[in-house]
């Protein structure tokens, strides 16, 4: 526990931590203002499925709950992966860069415990990002557009409490997807002494997966790429919830998270620290 607390203290002493959190909290307010003061809806944002996006963005002004969903749709394809990648890549490579990695590892802590504490805190950071995005959307949407019963894609209407519950599930799901990005970036972070290289490595992997998704030739690969499953949260907005795609996505995420973190752990334990 103490090593987790120590890593958490470290990120609290970095300005970028609060910049990231602040941005995610404020972005829903900016989106709200854009809807509030423009006559026509804005262009479709994000890379979500076309019909879902179109439906959500045309209805935001009628119901604040749509803003909660719209913010998630807009942020989950690029901005959240960007923050997740930065968070994960900063873990080992960031300390190597500043020369503090050797200072840390000259104290009596096992490499494994050090790495796992870092991994954990990098994920907590992203969890707080996702939470603040939801909280900002709830406040911005609720205050300006009000919270009303939600009409699902499948036609049924659900109450506000039920809709908020589904939103929480959707946000939690997206967080699990982001854990894949964090874990991949932590792996890259153990392989290089430059946190920028590691962050770009994580992002490039996300982008390559997105690009592969655009070619039908690579369709056979789709089920294995975690990015392909990011949109599965929209299944929470059907009644009844379509669990099939959600479960497939969760299995995929678990394999990526455990796999990449396992390789990072194995690699870091045997590596020479020359920074």
């Amino acid at each position: 526990m103490s090593s987790i607390r120590r890593e958490f203290v470290k990120i609290l002493f970095q300005k970028r931590t609060f910049i990231g959190w602040g941005l995610l909290f404020i972005i829903p307010f900016l989106v709200m203002l854009a809807f509030r003061f423009s006559s026509a809806g804005p262009g479709r944002g994000g890379g979500g499925t076309a019909d879902v996006g179109a439906m959500i963005f045309t209805q935001v002004r009628t119901n604040g709950i749509y803003l909660i969903v719209a913010a998630l749709l807009a942020m989950s394809s690029f901005f959240l992966p960007l923050l997740a990648s930065m968070s994960g890549s900063n873990t080992v490579a960031g300390e190597a860069e500043s020369g503090t990695l050797r200072t840390m590892l000259m104290q009596p802590i096992t490499r494994g415990r050090f790495l796992m504490s870092k991994w954990f805190v990098a994920n907590v950071y992203v969890a707080i990002c996702v939470f603040l995005l939801g909280l900002g959307s709830l406040i911005a949407g609720g205050a300006v557009f009000g919270l009303h019963p939600l009409k699902l894609f499948t036609g049924q209407s659900i109450g506000v409490a039920h809709a908020l519950g589904l939103s929480v599930a959707a946000y939690a799901f997206v967080f699990l997807g982001m854990m894949c990005v964090v874990s991949v970036s932590v792996l890259f972070s153990t392989l290089t002494n430059s946190s920028l290289t590691a962050a770009i490595g994580g992002l490039v992997l996300v982008i390559v997966m997105l690009v592969l998704g655009g070619f039908s030739v690579f369709d056979f690969l789709q089920p294995y790429l975690f990015v392909h499953h990011f949109d599965a949260w929209t299944n929470f907005l059907s009644s009844p919830v379509q669990w099939g795609p959600v479960i497939k996505a969760l299995i995929n995420f678990a394999v990526w998270i455990v796999g990449t973190t396992g390789i990072a752990y194995w690699r870091f334990r045997s590596r020479d620290i020359l920074s």
Binding site: T103, M104, L105, M106, Q107, P108, S270
Partner: protein, 337 residues
């Protein structure tokens, strides 16, 4: 002066430490980076209470050795032992008995010196505010304890590094060139501090490329070259057993003539205007009598000990290697390669 002569002087006194326990030792420690053998079969032993000098030119493997002592890098073969704990096998338990830094000590720049000591010190056990103030005071940083470590100069970071090394009162502190890059006053302060630590019974393992520094603060030393230990033993015995003197006279050529008649050819040479004679006890009075008898006015006769030490260091660390004397020349200027 040859390496063999020193090795003979060492025999039988390496391990026993005159009854004191060996607190830090390396056993056949070897590290290869690709085809480069950075550290080659290193056997060191540091006794409790030693201020042990780890002397060698830049690039001789000092930092690589220290990284292996702390378990930052894995030996290709061999191991380090700290009291009963082997590194890397029992790294974390060994580290509880070790403090120190390798290379330039680095800290969390956004945090105060005090918070850095708390954060890093607590990894070794409970740390009180009093202890933090105490170690800051020892290194002369008490009034800067609340400044951010990021604002510290190189010299201040070296001191903070020593403060962190001391915080859990370890059995051995290992300092990697703690005076490198400091101004003369800073060097003097840090050396004085190390001497005091030694006087209080703290075991110190001090790496340095400065012979002079090791002579000043250490009681035992090892000289490293190309990853090998060439000499290891009490600093007093690292001195060449030399009776060499430097002579300056009004007529150097005539003096040289007279002296050459007294000693074998290899015993006399000229350097920077002086005649340097390396000969046995009782030689000097006889030489003076003959010079006076030959009407040569003597301006000065001084012991050439410093000269002999420098020569020895150069000779020892440059065996069959042309590039090394240049490296030492650079290191004398205080720069790091």
């Amino acid at each position: 002066m040859t390496a063999e002569k020193f090795d003979m002087a060492q025999e039988g006194r390496l391990e026993h430490c005159e009854g004191k326990p060996v607190v830090l030792s390396t056993h056949g420690l070897t590290k290869e980076f690709g085809s480069l053998r950075a550290v080659d079969n290193l056997d060191l032993s540091v006794c409790r209470g030693d201020v042990f000098g780890f002397l060698g030119p830049n690039g001789s493997g000092k930092t690589t050795t220290i990284r292996m002592i702390f378990g930052l890098i894995y030996p290709t073969s061999g191991y380090v032992q700290v009291l009963d704990h082997k590194v890397p096998a029992q790294r974390t338990s060994a580290l509880r008995h070790l403090g120190g830094f390798v290379d330039d000590p680095m800290f969390y720049g956004n945090m105060s010196a005090r918070r850095n000591l708390r954060l890093l010190g607590e990894m070794n056990g409970h740390v009180t505010e009093e202890r933090i103030a105490e170690v800051l005071d020892i290194v002369g940083l008490l009034d800067r304890g609340d400044s951010k470590a990021g604002s510290f100069s190189h010299g201040m970071r070296q001191r903070l590094g020593i403060a962190l090394a001391l915080i859990h009162d370890p059995d051995v502190i290992v300092l990697d060139e703690p005076t490198s890059g400091l101004d003369p006053q800073g060097m003097k302060d840090v050396r004085e501090l190390i001497r005091q630590l030694g006087a209080q019974g703290t075991t110190v393992f001090l790496s340095s490329h400065l012979l002079h520094e090791v002579e000043l603060v250490c009681n035992r030393a090892a000289i490293l070259s190309k990853g090998h230990v060439i000499v290891q033993g009490p600093v007093s015995e690292l001195h060449p057993a030399s009776h060499a003197v430097k002579i300056l006279t009004a007529n150097q050529s005539k003096a040289l003539e007279i002296i050459r008649a007294m000693v074998p050819a290899g015993g006399v040479r000229e350097d920077e205007g002086y005649i340097i004679v390396d000969s046995g006890d009782g030689f000097v009075p006889e030489m003076v009598r003959r010079l006076v008898a030959g009407n040569v006015d003597i301006m000065a006769i001084v012991p050439a000990v410093e000269q002999g030490l420098e020569d020895m260091f150069l000779e020892l660390t440059s065996t069959a290697e042309v590039a090394l004397p240049q490296a030492i020349g650079r290191s004398r200027k205080g720069g790091r390669l």
